[in-house]
């Protein structure tokens, strides 16, 4: 069986600076795979390249059997790859309902869209209560819920979440992580970038540790969680 997402020797540069220096990994359907690492390791750059916002300088990306090289960003989502970006990036002056509808921008099935909006409200009841409110008035955690709900609206085969717990209160962080567990249980394939390595590894099937543009260590979530060098570097243990 071939993987849903196959990344081979991916390289990405900003001008002369190479931010991602030839990484390879894959995501199988139904899996949760996480990329962990410090700021500047190249995790966000990797996701932005997968969704077409950045162009790779080398390597191959194959998604669902199709090469993604030179496919413009606005066409990648229609292949089934959704991206909930770092910093949430909801549309602040549109309402919550309008944000969700934009997540389904390329879909034509009106009834299905309505059903999925309802599903997002079931997943995050606070969004349902405030559906007519401008998204910019939501708290950080609520905006994160909206960003995830919006990404799900395209009915993705693979959901990429970039730092979903960043800057959130501990309670909100627990809620977001619980949602990811829930999505995983319902069979959603997820590529998760997280600074909260403990949380990310404990719910991931596969994990990769990135340092300055390279993957330095790979393994199952549990293996990495118990790996001594990982515990020292990312889980704050001496």
């Amino acid at each position: 069986m071939t993987a849903l997402l196959e990344v081979e020797d991916l390289r990405v540069s900003y001008g002369k600076i190479e931010a991602v220096k030839g990484i390879s990994f894959s995501v199988e359907a139904g899996q949760v795979v996480t990329l962990i690492g410090t700021n500047g390791a190249g995790k966000t750059t990797t996701l932005r390249t997968l969704s077409g916002l950045l162009q790779p300088s080398g390597g191959n990306i194959t998604f669902d059997g199709k090469p993604l090289k030179n496919v413009p960003a606005h066409k990648i989502v229609s292949l089934g790859l959704a991206h909930s970006p770092e910093g949430r990036h909801i549309f602040p002056r549109l309402t919550i309902a309008e944000n969700l509808q934009l997540g389904a921008f390329l879909r034509k099935d009106k009834e299905g869209i309505e059903k999925d909006i309802q599903r997002a409200y079931d997943l995050f009841p606070i969004l349902g209560e405030r559906q007519k409110q401008a998204a910019g008035t939501l708290s950080g955690g609520e905006q994160q819920m909206l960003a995830m709900g919006r990404a799900l609206m395209s009915q993705p085969k693979l959901l990429m979440l970039d730092e979903p717990s960043m800057g959130l209160s501990p309670i909100m962080m627990q809620k977001i992580l619980a949602t990811i567990v829930e999505l995983k249980a319902s069979g959603t394939t997820i590529l998760l970038v997280e600074q909260n390595a403990q949380a990310a590894l404990s719910l991931a099937d596969q994990g990769h540790v990135m340092e300055v543009g390279n993957i330095v260590l790979s393994g199952t979530g549990q293996d990495l969680l118990h790996d001594e060098s990982v515990r020292k570097a990312y889980l704050g243990e001496d």
């Binding site: 413009p72 002056r93 509808q101």
Partner: protein
């Protein structure tokens, strides 16, 4: 003739024209943060497009009822092509360049378009006469012409059409999204290049509507007509809050009314006798801009910058 209601009507009419042109500045700025200083010339080429239809395509003596819609189409096609062409060939290659580069390009394009029309359009080195609609009507103490009626109806139709389009249509929603966050819009599947082209095209068409109104009202057009009208419309867009389509229309009307009233009445103030008359209209218009920017830098309907985060 010089009653207050008449002056107000004159101001509203002039303001509607500013507002129609201001839409082009504000939509383009809202989406790509570019001040398209060639927009005044997009307005000007629209006037020449309309004149071409009237003077060279339609047979002599065509009724104006038939001619005006066809002139609108001709002017619209020319303005839209110039606007979309400018985006495609002048601005798009500079999308990632420092801000100053597209700005200078816009100024250069503005001069180039003026010179092209002056040198290559027959008789355009001087003003050319444009068919005017001067049948007049008295409404109480106010006299308006057929051209004024055309302008008001066109402005209302255009503005309400645009408001509907931006709020309700799928493309309009995509346009709002692109203005707020272009990268994330692409993640939604929105082809942002297409949205940018549509913004330029709408601005171009509205400029052509204003240009036809201008010709019908004043009876002549010239290759330099876009400079001052463009500058005033840009002022209107900034005053209303650049990026906001309602602000553009409001800014246009406020500017038109203010400059008309100022040039009609300021010389009645003791000690300011020599400051009256239309020669001072531009002075008052730009004074008003400075005042608005001093007390409300984001413009009358502008968003606070913090909301754009």
């Amino acid at each position: 003739m010089n009653t207050l209601p008449q002056q107000l009507a004159n101001g509203l009419l002039l303001g509607s024209m500013y507002g129609l042109i201001a839409i082009g500045y504000t939509m383009v700025y809202g989406i790509v943060q570019l001040i398209n200083f060639a927009h005044g010339e997009i307005f000007m080429t629209g006037a020449f497009g309309a004149l071409t239809v009237y003077a060279y395509i339609l047979p002599d003596g065509t009724s104006m009822v038939v001619a005006v819609p066809l002139m609108l189409i001709g002017g619209g096609i020319v303005s839209v092509l110039v606007a979309v062409g400018a985006e495609r060939f002048a601005y798009r290659p500079l999308r990632q360049a420092p801000r100053l580069a597209p700005l200078i390009t816009a100024i250069g394009l503005s001069l180039a378009l003026q010179e092209v029309v002056r040198n290559f359009y027959p008789g355009a080195d001087k003003d050319r006469s444009f068919p005017s609609l001067d049948g007049s009507h008295d409404i109480g103490s106010v006299t308006i012409t057929d051209a004024d009626i055309f302008l008001v109806v066109a402005a209302i139709v255009c503005m309400s059409g645009l408001a509907w389009f931006v709020r309700k249509s799928r493309t309009g929603r995509a346009m709002q999204a692109t203005a707020q966050d272009p990268d994330t819009s692409q993640l939604m599947g929105i082809d942002t290049n297409r949205i940018i082209v549509i913004a330029f095209a709408i601005g171009g068409f509205f400029a052509a509507v204003a240009a036809v109104s201008y010709g019908l009202k004043y009876g002549n057009i010239g290759y330099r007509m876009g400079f001052l009208m463009g500058l005033k419309a840009f002022t209107a867009a900034v005053m209303g809050g650049i990026g906001n389509i309602y602000g553009a229309m409001l800014g246009g009307v406020v500017l038109g009314v203010a400059e008309t009233l100022a040039s009609a009445y300021i010389n009645h103030i003791p000690g300011m006798q020599q400051l009256g008359g239309s020669g001072w209209a531009n002075v008052w218009a730009f004074c008003l801009l400075i005042l608005v920017l001093l007390f409300r830098p984001q413009g009358l309907l502008g968003e606070r910058v913090a909301d754009r985060a």
